[in-house]
Amino acid sequence: MSTRAVATVRLVQQHSIVVLIALLVALAGLIEAIRPGAVNANWVSNILEFAAPLGILAAGQTLVVIMGGIDLSVANVATAAAYIMASQAPFGVTRSIVAGLFVGVLVGLINGVGVAVFKVQPLIMTLAMGLVVTGSLNVYSQASVRTVPGVPAVIHTLGSGTVLGYVPVSLFLWALLAAVLIVGLRGTGFGRLLYALGDNLEATRLAGVRGWQVLLTNYAACGLLSAVAGLVLAGTVNAADLSLATVLLLPSVAAVVIGGTSIFGGSGSYSGTIVGALILTVLNSVLTLLDVPDAVKQVLYGAIIVVLAAAYTRVLGRE
């Protein structure tokens, strides 16, 4: 490779988010080309509204992946949180929301104990917890034989309300969480430790860090974020059924990977994941617009993730 090519690659590596945004814009351009006038304020508003739950779910995933783990229970947790929130709605909005979030933190803590204390591989631990959560939820749903639980108005507004006609309410929550995460990852001791653990567990230990404390806290944080995503999603859909967030598991990992976070941990950012979530949502919109059948949509979706991930690994030469 010539020195100029090397320099270009280096530049792209350092500013990969620019490339991602360009891709996002290109996709939007594609939509506009297919159907002129489709890209308008309303469309943007819709995209943001649908991207918000995914973005929040992928936020937890980003934290865990940066630390060198993975959480395959995020979708189950989101579903359970939403369902329990809805079923608790008759007892008051606050209680129902707290109950939903509590589920998330609890499952996160159990994941953390398994991974940090008992050294179970994250993949297995979270996969198994996903089964436990879904199983428990099934039992719960049959024990508390109510009609399909309703979503409180507050949550409905959070998930699908808009301000000034176009700005989704969920965007405010998402933006707030994003700000906390982006600043926190860069500028706090905890954030530093996530990258450090993901990069080199042994080095982090030698520097005097007790890794289990970080792992435990982080899985709990991921659980909490998943629960929040579940609530927002329930608001968007205005219902909470037993498979509410299942479809978002793979996109939550895909958004992280597309966003440039190394699946092995130690590098990445939440800003990348945000763009990743937006790209996936817009992609979905493109395929819908093209009237592509669901089956083809899935195939294309998978193929595009492969291509993007390969582009990262090969072209940008991550080690």
């Binding site: 591989q121 917890m129 199983g135 089956a295 979706y301």
Partner: protein, 330 residues
């Protein structure tokens, strides 16, 4: 299973002890299955050949799913697309078999085996060529295979020829020896020659220590592709088993089997780090995992607890394994 060096340095006279150490987990899994069967019979005194038959039918596809995952995990990878591959085989079989006789169906089965093996190999090729982690690639290809399955067949449709179904559902020899159990013969037919061949050794080698495998002259890329391809073959068997046991082609049939397959291999003693484990353990584990919901039903408990118990069981199994390793450390 690991042991201290001092023990192993003793030249002779430890054959028996070593056998226990090496196959201890597998033996324990079979003992566990035996105990669970005894418990089942105690709970349900009229447990008969029909119930046994039902169990073997339920366990057959899972046993193949576990085998598919075992192949890939032994080579140090993971395949999150096993379920969709099974679904793909299942719907391909239905589309081509509907309204045909047994001979034709068997021909179709062979073609399906070939196609899905190819799909498995493609997983491996993409992973090796792109160098993207296997989790990401198989996660993505699981979309692709599931999408293709939906393209082949939009919704669950019956129509697998009865003769083909009877390959699994009958019990030709004895009511206690259902054909679904006889079909397990596929495992030794594929596994034993593979285990003894250089390719089989290479799969273990790559999963065990890539650097040492490279120094031993193993072609890392090719070996990994072979592992994924054989995994694809077993997934195809699983899909065909689904066709036989359910008689239906369903594009969503596979969903359950990716996770359960992983559960079965963990319970079956295959190390997720690669290189360690065999085929016997995961197969027994598949029967255990299929037996648990049945026991719950006999006990009159909500079968929904089944999933929960399965999850807890996996966590406990892995923790016990982890604690065991910790204790053995000098």
């Amino acid at each position: 299973m690991a042991a201290t060096a001092a023990e192993a340095l003793r030249p002779t006279g430890i054959q028996f002890g070593r056998g226990i150490r090496r196959f201890g987990w597998t033996i324990a899994v079979y003992v566990l299955f035996g105990v669970l069967m005894v418990v089942t019979v105690i709970i349900k005194p009229d447990y008969g050949s029909f119930e046994w038959n039902t169990l073997t039918l339920a366990a057959l596809p899972l046993a193949f799913a576990a085998a598919a995952q075992t192949m890939v995990v032994l080579s140090g990878g993971i395949d999150l697309s096993v379920g969709p591959l099974m679904a793909l085989a299942n719907v391909l079989a239905l589309r081509a078999m509907v309204g045909h006789d047994l001979r034709y169906s068997l021909g179709v089965a062979l073609i399906v085996l070939f196609e899905v093996t190819l799909a498995g190999a493609l997983n491996g090729v993409i992973i090796v060529v792109t160098r993207v982690p296997d989790i990401v690639i198989t996660l993505a290809t699981s979309f692709i295979w599931a999408g293709l399955a939906l393209l082949v067949l939009a919704k669950p449709t019956p129509g697998i020829p009865l003769d083909f179904q009877n390959l699994a559902q009958g019990s030709t020899l004895s009511p206690w020896l259902p054909d679904a159990l006889l079909l397990l013969v596929v495992f030794p037919l594929v596994w034993i020659p593979l285990r003894r061949s250089r390719a089989g050794l290479a799969i273990y080698a790559v999963g065990s220590d890539r650097n040492a495998a490279f120094r031993s002259g193993v072609n890392l890329g090719l070996t990994r592709v072979v592992a994924y391809a054989v995994g694809g073959f077993f997934a195809a068997c699983g899909g065909l088993a689904l066709s036989m046991t359910t008689g239906v082609g369903s594009p969503l049939a596979g969903t359950y089997y990716t996770l359960s397959g992983v559960s079965a291999i963990v319970l079956g003693g295959v190390s997720l780090a690669g290189g360690r484990g065999g085929m016997l353990g995961p197969i027994a584990a598949a029967y255990i995992l299929s037996l648990i919901p049945a026991i719950l039903i006999y006990l009159g408990i909500d079968p929904n607890y089944g999933q929960m118990i399965q999850g807890v069981l996996i966590v406990i199994v892995v923790m016990v394994g982890g604690i065991g390793t910790m204790l053995r450390r000098p």
